[in-house]
C-alpha cells in the first residue's frame, strides 16, 4: 500500500470524526439544498481539522485576539471550529457511514440491455468479425482452409439487472403545515432520503403528492411550496399514492412511501388512514412517517401510527420537531434491520 494511502486514511478518519461531531449541523448545511445536484464542495464548520498557524486577525474582526478568554467570534463558543470545503460526495459517504445506515438490498430488478459483448464463436458471420486465431486453430485441425474452418466472434446482448425505486412523497399541506420552518424540515428530510436511496438504486423516480382533505399530484417545486386550504384527511394522500403505485409493477419496482404531516388529522378519517396504510404496506419496500409538529397536537393519531409501526418492520414513525432531529430521524427511518 502507498504511504500516502495510510496518511489519507488518517486524514479521512479525522474528517469523519469532525463531521460526526457536527452531524446535526452538517445535515442542514445550506449548500446541499441550494444546489441539490451540483457536486460543488460544501462549506462546513468542523472542529480542529486545519493545521493552525499564527495569522493576523482578519480585518474588521474586532473580537480577534481580545485576550484572556474574552475572545472568540460570536456563535463560536468552543473557539475551535474552522470552515473546510469538502466535496459533497465525500460528505455523503461519511454521513451515511456515520448514521450507520445499512445497505439496502433491492428486492425487485429489471433486466435492461446495456450493450453487447463478444462471447464464443460461430461459423457464420461478417468477415470483419473473423476470429483469426480460432480460424487458424480450426484450419490446423482440419488440415485445410475451407468455409467450415472459418470462425467468427459472436456478439450477444448483455443484460444487466437494474434496481429501480419509486418514491411517493406525501405532504400534508393544510393550513397548519404552511409554516416556513415545517416546510424546511420536510425539505431537508426528503433531500437526504432521496440521496440515500440514490446510493442503492441506479434509477429513482419521485412522485409528489400534497393534500388537505383532498389530494393532488404536483411537481417537486410545488410540493415544497404550495399550501391548500382546509383541514386534514391524510387518507386522501395515501389513496392517491396507492393509485400512483399501481403504475409501478412490484416485480420491477421497489416502492417507497414517505409521508409528512403535523398529525392533526380529522378523527373520522383516521381509521381509513390505518386501513389504507395496512393495504399499502403489503406491496411497499418501506414506508416512513415524519411527525412535523413542535406542539402537542396530533398525539392521538401519532400513537395509533406507532402502534401500527410496531407490527411492521418496514414501517417507521419518527418525529422531526427541531432541526437537529433530522439526522436521528434518518437513522431511525433507515437504520437497523430494514432490508
Amino acid at each position: 500500500m502507498y504511504k500516502a494511502e495510510v496518511d489519507k486514511a488518517r486524514y479521512r478518519e479525522r474528517l469523519r470524526e469532525a463531521i460526526l461531531a457536527r452531524l446535526p449541523e452538517v445535515v442542514l448545511a445550506p449548500g446541499f439544498l441550494l444546489a441539490p445536484d451540483a457536486d460543488a464542495p460544501i462549506r462546513i464548520r468542523v472542529p480542529d481539522l486545519e493545521m493552525p498557524f499564527l495569522r493576523p486577525a482578519r480585518a474588521g474582526d474586532g473580537t480577534g485576539g481580545r485576550g484572556q478568554g474574552g475572545g472568540g467570534r460570536p456563535g463560536d463558543e468552543a473557539g475551535e471550529a474552522v470552515e473546510v470545503l469538502v466535496p459533497r460526495s465525500e460528505i455523503e459517504a461519511l454521513l451515511f457511514e456515520a448514521l450507520a445506515l445499512p445497505r439496502l438490498e433491492p428486492k425487485s430488478h429489471e433486466e435492461v440491455a446495456t450493450g453487447e459483448k463478444h462471447r464464443g464463436t460461430v461459423r457464420r458471420g461478417p468477415m470483419p468479425r473473423l476470429d483469426r486465431r480460432r480460424t487458424m486453430v480450426e484450419m490446423l485441425k482440419a488440415g485445410v482452409l475451407s468455409e467450415d474452418t472459418l470462425r467468427f466472434r459472436d456478439r450477444r446482448p448483455v443484460r444487466t439487472r437494474v434496481a429501480k425505486a419509486v418514491v411517493v412523497l406525501v405532504r400534508d399541506s393544510s393550513g397548519s403545515m404552511a409554516a416556513e420552518e415545517r416546510r424546511f424540515l420536510v425539505r431537508v428530510a426528503t433531500y437526504w432520503t432521496v440521496r440515500w436511496l440514490r446510493r442503492t438504486y441506479e434509477h429513482v423516480e419521485l412522485r409528489f403528492v400534497i393534500h388537505s382533505v383532498e389530494a393532488e399530484e404536483v411537481d417537486e417545486e410545488r410540493f415544497f411550496t404550495r399550501h391548500l386550504n382546509g383541514g386534514t384527511h391524510i387518507s386522501s394522500g395515501l389513496l392517491l399514492a396507492e393509485e400512483i403505485l399501481r403504475g409501478y409493477p412490484a416485480d420491477i419496482w421497489n416502492a417507497y412511501l414517505l409521508a409528512f404531516s403535523d398529525s392533526e388529522n380529522f378523527d373520522a378519517d383516521t381509521p381509513r388512514v390505518l386501513a389504507t396504510l395496512e393495504r399499502l404496506l403489503g406491496g411497499l419496500a418501506f414506508a416512513g412517517y415524519g411527525h412535523v409538529n413542535a406542539g402537542n397536537g396530533g398525539q392521538g393519531f401519532l400513537r395509533q401510527l406507532e402502534h401500527l409501526a410496531a407490527r411492521y418492520d418496514h414501517f417507521r414513525v419518527g418525529r422531526i420537531v427541531r432541526r437537529e432531529d433530522v439526522g436521528p430521524w434518518l437513522q431511525h427511518m433507515f437504520g437497523g434491520e430494514v432490508a
Binding site: 500516502a4 480577534g64 485576539g65
Partner: protein
C-alpha cells in the same frame, strides 16, 4: 524495454549544452499516477508520514478526478536529480516534459538559492523517519504526531540564518546596545535628534546610569549587562525561527526525541525554502527553454504540434483558474529580457522571485501585457495607466511592487521569542500585529502539549494587559 522518449535524451542534452544550459545529471523514472500524486504530496521521497500529507494527496487525487489538475512530472533536486514522469503519457508528451525538465535541471545548478539545497535530503529524511517510527513505538504514534503538529505550525517561520547571527533586535536590545555604545565628545549633539521617550543613559565607570525611561529592569553593572546580553542570546531571545529555539534553546531542553523531530521538520522546511522563493523563476525558466530545445531536435511534425499545444496550454495565458499563471509570467519576462539583450543566464542565477520582478519588470513589459494586470486584478488593472493616486510612484510601479510583494515568502504573522526561561515561553508578534484568536489559541495549545510542564506559554502583541493570550 527502452521507451521511445529515452532515445531522445542524449540529443536533448546536447541541444541544451549547445544553447548554453548545464542541466545537472538526473535519473528518469516512469511512475503511475498514484505514485506521482504521492510524491507531489510529500515533495521528496523518504518523508515521514502525517495526515496533512494525506490530505494533500487526496486533494491532488480529487483535483485530478474533476479535471482541474494534471501533474506531468516531478523533479527532485537530489544527487543525482530524480525526474518522475507519468507512465501513461504519449511519447510526444513525454518528450515535451523532458525538454521542460532540462530547464529545471539547469536552474537547480544555476540559481544561488537552489544551490544551497542539501541534495541528500531524501536520505536525511528516510533516516529520520526510521528513528521517528522508533519513537512512535516507544511513546505512541499520537505523541509523535503531536510534535510534528508543532513543526507544521511553525514551518513558515524557519530561517536558514537562525543561530548564526545576532538575534534580531527587540526593543530591549535596542536600549541595551544604545547603553553599551562607547561615547565620544560630540555625542550630545548627535543625541539631539533622538526622541525623548526612548530610554536614555550611559555606562559610567562600569555602572549603568539610566537618566529617563527606565521601564526595563536591567542590571545596573556593565559586566552584568554583558552577561545579560549573552544570556538572552543563548536563550534565543529575538529569534524569529521558533522551531530553532524550541529545538536548541529551551531550558530545560526538550526530550531528545522531540528535539529530533523538530530539527528534522525544520531541515525539511529549509530544504524547500529555496523552491518556494523561486517558483516563478524556475517554472518561467523551464517554459522559456522548452520550445527552443525541441526546435533544435529533428522531430516528426506531430511531436512539434503536441509540444506547441502543451506549451500554450500551460504557459500560454496570463491567468490560470483566476490566478496569476507563473509559467506564463516567468517565460514572458525572460523573453522580454532577451529581446532587450540582457544576460538571462545571469538573471536566473542571482535573483529570487521577488527581486526578479522588482528589478526587471519594466513599464514596457507592463504596457505590453496590460492583459496581465486585467486578468489578475480586474477593473483595478484597467486603471493602471490612468490612476493618478500615487504622486511619487507611477501607478505601474506601485503595481509592480505589489506584484513583487505577493511573491514574498514570509510567515503570515511573524513572531519573535520574547522570553524563554524555565518558567515562561513568550512569543511577541513583530510590529505588534494582532493575531487571529482562534488559531493562536490552538497554536499555543500545541506548544503547551509539546512542553508538557507547567511553564507559562504566552503570545503577546503589545505591552498592555489585554494584549496577550495564554495557553
Amino acid at each position: 524495454m527502452r521507451q521511445r522518449w529515452e532515445t531522445y535524451l542524449p540529443k536533448l542534452s546536447a541541444a541544451a549544452r549547445a544553447l548554453g544550459l548545464q542541466p545537472i545529471p538526473s535519473v528518469y523514472e516512469e511512475v503511475d499516477r498514484e505514485t506521482l500524486h504521492e510524491l507531489a504530496a510529500y515533495g521528496i521521497p523518504g518523508v515521514h508520514g502525517h495526515w496533512l500529507y494525506g490530505r494533500a494527496y487526496w486533494q491532488h487525487e480529487s483535483a485530478h478526478d474533476r479535471g482541474l489538475e494534471t501533474i506531468y512530472e516531478l523533479v527532485c533536486h537530489l544527487e543525482p536529480a530524480v525526474t518522475y514522469l507519468l507512465a501513461d503519457n504519449r511519447w510526444e508528451e513525454q518528450l515535451f516534459v523532458l525538454a521542460h525538465v532540462q530547464g529545471h535541471l539547469d536552474f537547480f545548478g544555476r540559481n544561488h538559492l537552489m544551490r544551497q539545497q542539501n541534495p541528500h535530503m531524501h536520505s536525511v529524511m528516510a533516516a529520520a523517519s526510521e528513528r521517528w517510527h522508533g519513537y512512535a513505538a516507544a511513546f505512541g504514534a499520537e505523541a509523535v504526531e503531536a510534535v510534528m503538529d508543532v513543526g507544521f505550525m511553525f514551518l513558515s517561520h524557519v530561517n536558514p540564518h537562525a543561530g548564526h547571527k545576532r538575534p534580531a533586535e527587540t526593543p530591549t536590545h535596542a536600549v541595551v546596545e544604545e547603553l553599551m555604545r562607547p561615547r565620544g565628545r560630540f555625542d550630545d549633539l548627535l543625541d539631539l535628534g533622538r526622541p525623548a521617550t526612548k530610554t536614555d543613559g550611559r555606562v559610567v565607570q562600569g555602572r549603568v546610569e539610566v537618566h529617563r525611561g527606565d521601564a526595563l529592569a536591567l542590571p545596573k553593572e556593565a559586566a552584568a549587562l554583558e552577561r545579560w546580553l549573552a544570556e538572552q542570546e543563548a536563550q534565543g531571545v529575538g529569534e524569529e525561527d521558533v522551531l530553532y529555539v524550541l529545538a536548541h534553546a529551551t531550558s530545560p531542553p526538550l526530550p531528545e526525541w522531540k528535539r529530533d523531530i523538530l530539527i528534522g521538520m525544520r531541515e525539511l522546511a529549509l530544504y524547500f525554502l529555496p523552491q518556494r522563493r523561486t517558483k516563478l523563476l524556475d517554472e518561467g525558466w523551464a517554459s522559456y527553454w522548452e520550445g527552443q530545445l525541441l526546435d533544435a531536435l529533428e522531430l516528426p511534425e506531430e511531436a512539434h504540434l503536441i509540444s506547441a499545444e502543451m506549451h500554450s496550454r500551460i504557459a500560454g495565458t496570463p491567468s490560470a483558474g483566476g490566478r496569476l499563471n507563473v509559467y506564463w509570467l516567468g517565460c514572458e519576462l525572460f523573453r522580454h529580457l532577451e529581446r532587450q539583450g540582457r544576460d538571462v543566464f545571469e538573471i536566473a542565477a542571482v535573483e529570487d522571485d521577488q527581486s526578479f520582478l522588482r528589478t526587471w519588470l519594466d513599464e514596457d513589459f507592463v504596457r505590453r501585457h496590460r492583459v496581465l494586470a486585467e486578468a489578475v486584478y480586474g477593473d483595478e488593472g484597467k486603471r493602471l495607466f490612468q490612476d493618478p493616486t500615487a504622486p511619487t510612484k507611477k501607478p505601474w510601479e506601485v503595481w509592480r511592487d505589489r506584484l513583487a510583494e505577493s511573491f514574498a515568502v514570509a510567515p503570515a504573522l511573524p513572531v519573535r521569542v520574547h522570553e524563554n526561561t524555565r518558567g515562561r515561553f513568550v512569543l511577541h508578534t513583530v510590529d505588534g500585529q494582532v493575531p487571529d484568536d482562534v488559531y493562536a489559541r490552538r497554536v499555543l495549545g500545541g506548544l503547551r502539549r509539546l512542553f508538557d510542564d507547567d511553564r507559562d506559554v504566552v503570545l503577546r502583541w503589545g505591552e498592555g494587559r489585554g494584549e496577550e493570550l495564554r495557553a
